[in-house]
């Protein structure tokens, strides 16, 4: 019985370690500060030039998007999945490579977000050079909604 328990624990530990190693490559911490935009600065940008809004794309979960998102932003899907990345590539395929695009997620603390870095990487590979990533320190609830920034609900 004890041996079985030990084996189960070992399998779980190995699985967790493997998943952590896999995730390191896709972490948001790899994104340089110069390409990040803070919630405060994004709000200022949206207010200063409403006619020239960036394309804002949420690359996290649909359930989170439906509860709260930045007005005017579009849902694409978790970019940590191949399906999400495909949707993203399809959405931007016809755009000029100079288009300002803001990516955001807010599912998890910045250091653990699995979605923004793969999305940023995909756009970079496609030739987009005017991409900003919304820096969300903790999560979208704490760092956007609770601060009173503009928020929309639904699909």
């Amino acid at each position: 019985m004890k041996i079985r328990l030990l084996l189960t624990k070992s399998v779980l530990a190995v699985a967790a370690a493997f998943l952590m190693v896999v995730q390191v490559a896709g972490q948001a911490t790899a994104i340089p500060a110069s390409r990040q935009v803070t919630p405060e600065d994004l709000v200022k940008l949206l207010q200063s030039s409403p006619e020239q809004k960036p394309l804002m794309i949420q690359v996290g979960s649909h359930v989170l998007y439906t509860q709260a998102h930045i007005p005017g932003s579009e849902y694409i899907g978790p970019a940590s999945t191949e399906a999400g990345l495909q949707q993203l590539r399809k959405r931007v395929a016809m755009l000029r490579r100079t288009q300002l695009i803001v990516l955001y997620c807010g599912c998890c603390p910045w250091s653990h977000c699995p979605n923004v870095e793969p999305a940023d990487n995909a756009l970079h590979k496609m030739g987009f050079r005017n991409v900003k990533i919304l820096y969300i320190a903790e999560n979208f609830g704490n760092d956007w909604v609770n601060k009173g920034y503009p928020t929309a609900k639904g699909d």
Partner: protein, 163 residues
């Protein structure tokens, strides 16, 4: 007449006294019935009498994944005393959840969450979020973000002692 007035005043005094000195009542967890990933639908209120750890998570959420092996251990450790962990997956579909639950040997039920349930719980706008419910179904703790296993262990053990 005098007795009636005195009676009313006494009753009022007792009510106000109870409100002022009574213990703080934790809010009742919003009830739900949701489809399980690997089983029939699950109703939260059917777990009254248990201490419930309600974990909002997703397969792609790294801190959520780090917590799950600890939850598996906690479920084993405290099952006999009355702990029931319930995972509420905020994945967009159940497809990645099924193999994940098998890979991680998840030994507690998992239901598929939605925006409505998220809003009922005050907005699940970041993961993981865990709610700890006492045996009466009241929310005693809310943990936003990854929480050390020792914290859950201690809080669960304390709640389980209360009948």
């Amino acid at each position: 007449m005098l007795l009636l007035v005195l009676g009313l005043l006494w009753g009022r005094h007792m009510r106000s006294g109870t409100q002022a000195s009574g213990p703080k009542q934790h809010p009742l967890a919003p009830d739900f019935t949701l489809a399980q990933v690997n089983g029939p639908s699950l109703t939260l209120s059917s777990y009254r009498g248990h201490v419930v750890l309600l974990d909002f998570w997703a397969t792609w959420c790294v801190p959520c994944r780090e917590e799950i092996p600890h939850f598996v251990e906690l479920q084993d450790k405290f099952r006999a005393q009355g702990l029931q962990i319930i995972g509420v997956s905020m994945d967009d579909s159940a497809d990645p959840v099924r193999p994940f639950s098998q890979q991680f040997h998840m030994n507690y039920p998992i239901v598929m969450g939605n925006a409505k349930i998220g809003e009922q719980y005050g907005g699940v706008l970041g993961l993981p979020i865990a709610f700890l419910l006492d045996r009466d179904g009241r929310i005693t703790k809310k943990h936003i973000g990854a929480t050390p296993a020792e914290v859950f262990d201690k809080e669960i053990a304390t709640l389980l002692l209360k009948q």
